[in-house]
Symmetry: C2
Subunit: 553 residues, 2 copies
């Protein structure tokens, strides 16, 4: 990337972009705004000002535990006010918050903790067993801080040394003089949880987190009249930066804590009670919430609420259903660990309103959307040639920009994931239409290569999920002696449809959208689909499991 120098400026170009500046802004201007956290016992509620006092105590406590600038500090926690405090306290003293995915296997967590070089671990009391399972192979030099309301003596564990988060805070000074942190220093780190190979480390700079937070605030159109519900885990890709974006705008933040699928009712109550205006979740998490609502006798009134669904393409049935049953609008977006959070967001354009049919609008609405401002994106063919934005040409989606990963941490074997001109190769196959809407049609490794042509596994599973009897579905390519690969759908039916919806029903349903040669020959009805730790379909496992479907014939 050649960079041209012009005339020197007189601006304060060396004033660093860092998240502490945003925290201080929020406390100066929105001291009375609320942060609400759902706990096991009820609701914990405090103000930005109260939170700032605890964050300052945390900073002092970290120093008392001999944590220094540059140290990596791991966190295993749900979406709570404590996690939110850690997101400002740890990087605020110049250390790095290592986001640890509570859904990862202990072996992967051991790898992550060792690879990142972790000095101290913060762990919720409900997650101690994970850290205990790691202990034979990994112990942080400076010990464990337990996130709990209980007394330390009531915590049964052999981990040592352990500290109580609340006690540390109580004993620490309530003021801390925040240092100015260099903008290129790491703010937080997150490891990818791809289905291939070992987790790969991405260390986000303060500059990155700062810039993407402004993008999130613009994308979500946040103001101090908004209330944001953070359903997406804070341990996924900087929590998509929403907890920083709310500080830019002065919005209220609601953290749902730990919840199980039996507790969706209380999540919905929380949305109503706290007057949530913006909710953020992976579409894989919105699906069961939608299912829960479908089964409610009285539907909640969520009109005026914008739900942003990230990651996998949401089924149109869910987009429509949310709106029809509750009044909430679902906007889709996408992002990855490697680009910190938001890479696209699907914003409706007023001038398209009158031009599209109802069906076209829904098709448009489930696309990943427009690239967020500030980065460069393109799609390229196998030889790296840029493809046109015609909505048809599909190529690998490449990104570069201030919040895109430039290299994986200490992983020289991954150099082929970057182009010579600085783009990160996402591994996603996408189209871009003339209006700029990006549609991820598949993972390069998941595309079904049949008779020399490509079939998008994502398009097919999305269409199957529009069938009213279907709860969820995935499609993989499995080896075929004649066609190289053929599509194989795995379908989970809704309770009431079990035994009623047949293979023929599914294929007939697909035939409305797909060419005959693309239609699957088989359909497997299953009780569940294997998923990765971040809730994506684990197609690697599915492919392995069904690899003999056509070969055996």
């Amino acid at each position: 990337m050649k960079i041209i120098k012009g005339f020197p400026s007189t601006s304060q170009d060396d004033y660093p972009l860092n998240v502490t500046t945003i925290l201080k802004h929020a406390v100066r201007n929105f001291a009375g705004q609320e942060i609400v956290s759902r706990t096991r016992d009820g609701i914990f509620r405090y103000t930005y000002k109260d939170a700032h006092e605890r964050i300052q105590r945390l900073a002092n406590a970290l120093e008392s535990l001999k944590i220094k600038p540059g140290d990596r500090v791991g966190v295993l926690e749900w979406n709570t006010h404590r996690y939110n405090e850690l997101y400002f306290g740890i990087p605020g003293i110049g250390a790095v918050l290592l986001e640890m995915n509570v859904r990862l296997a202990p072996s992967d967590l051991i790898y992550v903790a060792k690879h990142a070089g972790t000095e101290l671990l913060f762990v919720d009391e409900t997650l101690i067993s994970i850290v205990e399972a790691m202990a034979p192979e990994f112990k942080p030099a400076k010990g464990y801080v337990i996130l709990t309301d209980k007394k330390l003596s009531d915590i049964k564990t052999k981990l040592t040394p352990i500290y109580s988060y609340e006690k540390l805070l109580k004993e620490a000074k309530p003021e801390y003089d925040w240092p100015m942190i260099d903008e290129k220093s790491a703010y937080s780190a997150c490891y990818t949880t791809g289905t291939t190979g070992r987790p790969k480390g991405v260390f986000y700079s303060h500059r990155d987190a700062y810039l993407l937070s402004t993008v999130a605030a613009i994308t979500l159109e946040l103001s101090c009249r908004d209330c944001l519900l953070q359903i997406v885990p804070l341990y996924h890709a900087l929590g998509w930066c929403n907890h920083i974006a709310v500080l830019l705008a002065g919005s209220k933040l609601v953290l749902p804590g730990r919840y199980t699928s039996e507790e969706f009712g209380s999540i919905i109550d929380l949305m109503l009670q706290e007057k949530v205006t913006v909710g953020i979740a992976a579409s894989a998490a919105l699906m069961p919430i939608y299912e829960y609502i479908r089964n409610m006798k009285e539907k909640p009134n969520l009109s005026g609420v914008c739900l942003f669904s990230g990651a996998s393409e949401p089924p149109i049935a869910m987009l429509k259903g949310f709106y029809e049953l509750t009044g909430a609008k679902v906007y889709h977006g996408s992002g990855t660990t490697e680009n910190t959070a938001w890479s696209t967001a699907n914003k409706p354009k007023p001038w398209l309103e009158g031009k599209l049919s109802e069906e076209e609008k829904w098709e448009l609405q489930k696309k990943q959307g427009l690239e967020v401002p500030g980065c460069d994106v393109k799609i390229v063919d196998a030889r790296g040639n840029e493809l046109p934005h015609d909505g048809k040409s599909a190529g690998e989606f490449l990104m570069r920009g201030p919040w895109v990963v430039g290299s994986y941490y200490n992983a020289p074997e991954t150099a082929d994931r970057f182009t010579d001109d600085g783009y990160w190769k996402s591994g996603d196959v996408a189209t871009i239409d003339p209006e700029g809407y990006i549609k991820i049609v598949d993972r390069i490794k998941d595309v079904i290569k049949s008779g020399g042509e490509w079939i998008s596994s994502v398009d097919m599973e999305s269409e199957i999920m529009c069938h009213p009897g279907v709860l969820e579905a995935t499609v993989v390519g499995v080896p075929h002696p004649k066609w190289e690969e053929r599509p194989l759908p795995l379908v989970v039916l809704r309770q009431e449809s079990k035994g009623k919806v047949t293979k023929k029903d599914i294929i007939d349903h697909l035939s409305k959208k797909f060419a005959k040669w693309q239609l699957p020959d088989e359909v497997k009805f299953v009780d569940g689909i294997p998923k990765t730790s971040v809730g994506k379909f684990d197609k690697k496992v599915v492919r392995e499991q069904y690899k003999d479907t056509y070969v055996r014939e």
Copy 2:
């Protein structure tokens, strides 16, 4: 400013923040969005895509005129689509757009053009006489480009060499491969037009312009459903970055061109026809528009429109009046050449709604508001000690941050305008209340020092302007043999109040808000108040004119 380094990040921290990235984003994603420019003959209307083609032609044309990265290129133009094009074309090739204030005296413009080192001048045909007046003392080496629809042969001028903007564009290639510009290189330059001393140069970096545009988009809550009317001149402090912010959000942009006070009707028609949702103007420009509306028989329906008024504190009568007569809400903000554009914006907080009386709400609404996110602000006493945010303590307002000036260009004598820890001293006296609302009570040099106490000239003139018979008013401190200084109001009455409102009426009106010792002894009724080139009251001139008022007694 001590900066702490932490652990290295893996983000693309060297990917520069520059405005070209935003331009490319807008064209990729909002190609069909409109830019509307009011011309002498009607309305010029085109899309982002069309604009981008002309900007690329401009870039090629600049190169054909031998403009290189780092060169300074002056612009004398109204708020037109051509100015907007220059704002992307000139910095897009790495050169610097020098904003030239068409209201400055030729002697000041000569100083500015020479001091900045200007290679080429773009000038609107209606402003050629200004450039001709400069010509004996300043001629740009590479000549003049005339912004006109006419043929060059129909332009009567002795300037040489001259080029036609439209012809240059027509002859240039419509594609240009935008280079990546270093973020610390200057994007544009603007000279202060203070009432003391020579203009001082501020060279805004690409980084600065990029960051403040994100702030403007967040502050104005812009989306692609918005339509922004840029009343504030594009030659004031980067046009407050609004023309870049619209590209981030995909909003429509309306440029009113050149207009006189007789043409406010057509400006209001433009607002209605183009469905403007956000208007930006100095409060000094909103005042005559409000006056125009007061005199309209049928009031325009502007409900849903947000007007942002910058610079001087707006009179409550105008805030109320706009809302009552048209439904438009006026939000106040502030900024200066030195901090690029927005330094504060007055956002109402929902949790204050129920707590304040009607009167308190209006008092709050005319404050400068909350500091925009991303910078550090404080108020300090004469010895530099930080003052509390109690809404009462008044001290000099200091700022530092990525879009704040770090030094004036080539002006070592101005070093005392900066503190050792990197703050720029604004010269404004302000209070900050516990909610963070900043109120500029005066310029340090305009505060009236009477009997050892301070009287805010701004508060007093603002109160006088609430009198229904008053069109505008200013208050200055003039020398007094006993009290050091005493306040002297200059009042312009509304046409219908002339001869009816008396000195006693004004003093009685003030006595509701001011202590007896603060009340003026004299009131001067005048036909007009001297103003600076940016429309502020020129208190220096007024003080000089009336300096003998009390001394002679």
